[in-house]
């Protein structure tokens, strides 16, 4: 059984159909890069997977459980799948430690000492254990994004969705975040990432999905997709990079 099963998923905003029948199965431990032009529906697909958007048609199931749009099901789903955003979205009123502890305590009802232990472990994993008491606005963008990763990991998800998590960073800060992601991949975390880092996709990902106008236009192993694109659209897209 696949970890994430996306079947004939359609999503419209009013008249505008943004996803036009997406099929994609993700196996545990896979690292999938989603590439494609702006507006091709990459973010929308990720947001549908963890229920930030409701799908218009089709089905999505995670670890065998169907996605339903009510609070109980959504919560169960989001315990299995974490998400990292382009803009970090750390909680500015909480310290780094507080950011990583909050949802453990509120959602999982973990006792504070355990939550703190977990938070310190996860911050260590992203190399920021010494920033436990700092506030987000005292950190660089790269550090903030690593905290966001630690925050998601502290919920012990089965998979992580990453939407252009290095796009808001200064170029010199991209590497530190990618290094963390690379390590997660090596440890066997299932990752679905929208990215413009083609080199990273080539090195780390097990499959690459090329989206075009709301469809999965090409999919395959990175060495095939990058070296031997089948469609003119992908050829053109890769030419731009």
């Amino acid at each position: 059984m696949s970890l994430i099963e996306i079947t004939e998923v359609r999503k419209s905003y009013g008249e505008n159909e943004v996803l036009k029948g997406i099929n994609l199965d993700v196996e545990p431990g896979e690292v999938i890069a989603i590439i494609g032009k702006s507006g091709s529906g990459k973010s929308t697909l990720l947001r549908c997977i963890n229920g930030l958007e409701t799908i218009s048609k089709g089905s999505i199931s995670v670890a065998g459980a169907q996605l339903h749009d009510d609070e109980v099901h959504l919560k169960a789903l989001r315990l299995k799948i974490g998400m990292i955003f382009q803009q970090f979205n750390l909680f500015p009123h909480l310290t780094v430690g507080g950011n990583v502890m909050l949802s453990q305590m509120v959602v999982k009802k973990t006792a504070k000492p355990e939550a703190e232990k977990m938070a310190r472990r996860m911050l260590e994993r992203v190399g920021l254990e010494q920033k436990f008491d700092a506030y987000p606005d005292e950190l660089s963008g790269g550090q903030q994004q690593r905290v966001a990763i630690a925050r998601a990991l502290a919920m012990q998800p089965m998979a992580l969705l990453c939407d252009e998590i290095t796009s808001a960073l200064d170029p010199e800060l991209v590497a530190e975040v990618l290094a963390v992601v690379r390590e997660l991949a090596a440890e066997g975390m299932t990752l679905l990432m929208v990215t413009h880092e083609m080199k990273f996709a080539r090195d780390v990902c097990s499959r690459v999905v090329f989206m075009y106008q709301g469809r999965v236009h090409e999919i395959g192993r990175p060495e095939d997709v990058f070296a031997n694109p089948q469609t003119p659209e992908l050829k053109q897209f890769l030419g731009l990079h």
Partner: protein, 219 residues
């Protein structure tokens, strides 16, 4: 004819000022509680609850407070319910304040980036938890100056309740004037007392706002 000293006048006015203060506090606190309910209805995911709060707010913001006082006082009387002036005054001011506070606070909640809701949601928090632990702590900070500022409107709003016979500062002013025939002195003192109540509030509201702008963290 009896002579009234300034002190006599002032003493009577200050005694009545108690009721202005009590009514202001009741309206502000009661309005705050109802306003909080309105806020939650207003930012809910459910369409009917958003509409309900929206119509409530439009109704109370779209009609003069004076009319609301009349309706609470005389309107309920038509149904055989005898409403004392203090109750009508309290209720009308509570519901009126709630409409404005609810709307002020909605603005503050909406000023918080959508990504904050989404991050909290993606960590598994329910709607109320997102509000309680992530949105409100941030929104409350920016809500303080306009909320304190609005409390000035509440104090001034209590003056209208004199029309339905509630004896607070303004009503006392009228009564004392009728006894002393010194309208200028009396209303001058009334104005001074209102100013003494309101000015510290609007001043601190401005200070708080300036502080907030300086200590602007990254939101």
């Amino acid at each position: 004819m009896i002579e009234f000293t300034i002190w006599d006048i002032l003493r009577n006015l200050l005694l009545a000022t108690r009721w202005t203060i009590v009514l202001s506090l009741v309206s502000f606190i009661g309005g705050g509680i109802v306003g909080l309910v309105l806020l939650f209805l207003r930012v809910s995911k459910r369409q009917w609850s958003r509409s309900l709060a929206k119509y409530y707010i439009e109704l109370f913001q779209g009609t003069p407070l004076l009319m609301q006082l009349f309706i609470a006082f005389f309107g309920l009387g038509l149904f055989g319910i005898d409403v004392p002036a203090w109750l009508a005054a309290g209720l009308a001011l509570i519901f009126w304040s709630a409409a404005f506070l609810g709307e002020i606070w909605r603005g503050c909640v909406e000023a918080i980036a959508k990504g904050q809701w989404e991050a909290a949601a993606s960590l598994g928090m329910g709607r109320l938890q997102q509000m309680r632990y992530v949105i409100l702590p941030q929104a409350m900070k920016i809500a303080v100056p306009p909320t304190v500022g609005f409390s000035v409107q509440v104090i001034k709003g209590t003056a209208l309740t004199s029309i339905i016979g509630f004896v607070e500062l303004s009503k006392a002013g009228t009564v004392v004037t009728n006894a002393t025939f010194q309208p200028f002195t009396v209303y001058g003192l009334v104005a001074l007392i209102y100013f003494a109540l309101c000015w510290p509030l609007s001043w601190s509201s401005q200070i708080l706002e300036r502080k907030l702008n300086v200590a602007h963290r990254n939101y």
